[in-house]
Amino acid sequence: MLWETVKLAMSSIRRNVLRSVLTLLGIVIGVGAVIAMVTLGNGASSKVQENLAKLGSNMLIVRPGQTTFGPGGSTDARSFDERDVAALKNDLSGIRGVAPTAQKQMKAVFGALNYDASVTGTNTDWFTVQDWVLEDGRVFSDSELRAGASVCVIGATITRELFAGQDPIGERLRIGNFSCEVIGRMAAKGQSAFGSDQDAIVVLPLRTYHRRIAGNTRIGAISISVTEAAAIPRVQRDAEDVLRERRRIMPGDEDDFTIRDLTQILATMASTTAILTGLLGAVAAVSLLVGGIGIMNIMLVSVTERTREIGIRLAIGALERQVLTQFLVEAVVLALFGGVLGIAIGLGLAAAGAAVMDVPFNADLKVIALAFAVSALIGVIFGFFPARRAARLDPIEALRRE
């Protein structure tokens, strides 16, 4: 019986393909917009998530000066020193680690090969704070840190570009006129949130960097990893207090350093995407409503056109419920037709958009199923009134109609 009804609905839609498609435009656009936006939004936010993960969790970054955000930062401001790092480590609670960094772009050379690397001086906390995974070898020992030993840990890009297939552990890497023994290599992390290759890196003990590379004792930035996300604001305030005191900033004067919560910044980016998605969702809802009204309209026309047919069906013994079901199924099939069309178009747009915006294309099955269900629901809601009108027709009146 239901299958008969579905077949009947199909054939009456086929009879009026153009009319049906025009009617469905509202639903097609609504569903298409939702699918495209949600799919793109998912892609964008999963990219943000990925970036968040790469950044290391719950991280605060302290830089000298009131810098604008971005790599580098101003150099004229007073930089930090090792005692600042020690003080932060001592005075802050609820932290996983405090890592000073000083950095310089230099050529790393091995044999006949060289590669532009970010040469970084830091301590062992840095590996934890930045969520690096050691793939082979070891990190610096305390004595190596204290003594400023000529040892280094290298990133995946350096391993690949300079040691191509060879085991780098124990080899000597040359940076300028300084050379260090490779004691560990790290797993790949990929691009940073800002698009640079994080794996083109050579890590040295901070003191080694200061003495052999920089020739000064400046620390460009301090990363602080907080154990729990909820504690970030408190740790941020405490760190500010510690540094203001150490740098003897008078109450009322501005900080001459900046503490940034990177997690926060990317979370804001993510929530912006969410707001955008919500906004477009509202637009889609309106066009679904318009689509629903279109379906109601076309079903009313159909009921009027087919009054005689309905009269015949009622006269030969169809129950109200059976006629109601027939027209309801027709409305649902119509709406689903629009929904499927919309899903296809939406996915197509999302795939194109994802390619253009360079975000992953994540088709979400749940959202597709939901769009399908919503289309059916629209069919039921907006098809009900016309279907009831058909079911309540008086058979004699209906038969008298030409």
């Binding site: 019986m1 009879r15 015949i312 009622l314 030969i316 013994g317 169809a318 419920r321």
Partner: protein, 234 residues
Amino acid sequence: MSGEAPLVSFTGVTRFYGEGGGLVRALAGVDLTINRGEFIAIMGPSGSGKSTAMNIIGCLDRPSSGSFTLLGVEVNHLSQDQRALLRRNFVGFVFQGFNLLNRTTAIENVELPLIYRGMGRRERRERAREALHRVGLQGREHHTPGELSGGQQQRVAIARAIVTDPLLLLADEPTGNLDSQRSLEIMELIARLNEERGITVVMVTHEPGMAGFAHRIIRFVDGRIASDEQRAAA
């Protein structure tokens, strides 16, 4: 349903259409009893209330006043669905002007009442094929009404009316738009259904020749029964 009750009983049945100045009295007090197995012809001038009476017997319409019972059941107070169930189970209707679904094939038209009864596809097909066979339309199962002649369409309409094995076959001018040869064929078919299957037949006709097949002739004039004569079996 008691076997004692007459199949159809009218007591003081009236049917008005419209209201005020435009009031039309289609039936003006009709008393009538029809028993099982009868073959009745209803005659009378145009507008005398024949179709109105047929619609009431077929449970499509209800009297404005008076009592109408089918198989002893008072139909006046039944809901639309309850009347649909009576139609579905006991009545086969051949409408004035076939009232076939134009875009569906002959066999699908005949199947329709069975679909609404919830009969399975295979049994339905079988019975529809058999009904078409009985009206002499074998080989035309998959033609749409547009591809059939008037007489053939009329026979599809009859097949649709008898496919459910009704107690009562109502035919409103079944030969109205057919030539005399086709008309005779249809009448013979209907007479055979009455004789062989014991189906009660009530038929409206303008043609005395067709009425000659019936056992009882009722004449309507101005919404009343003017004469009701029993004929010796032909």
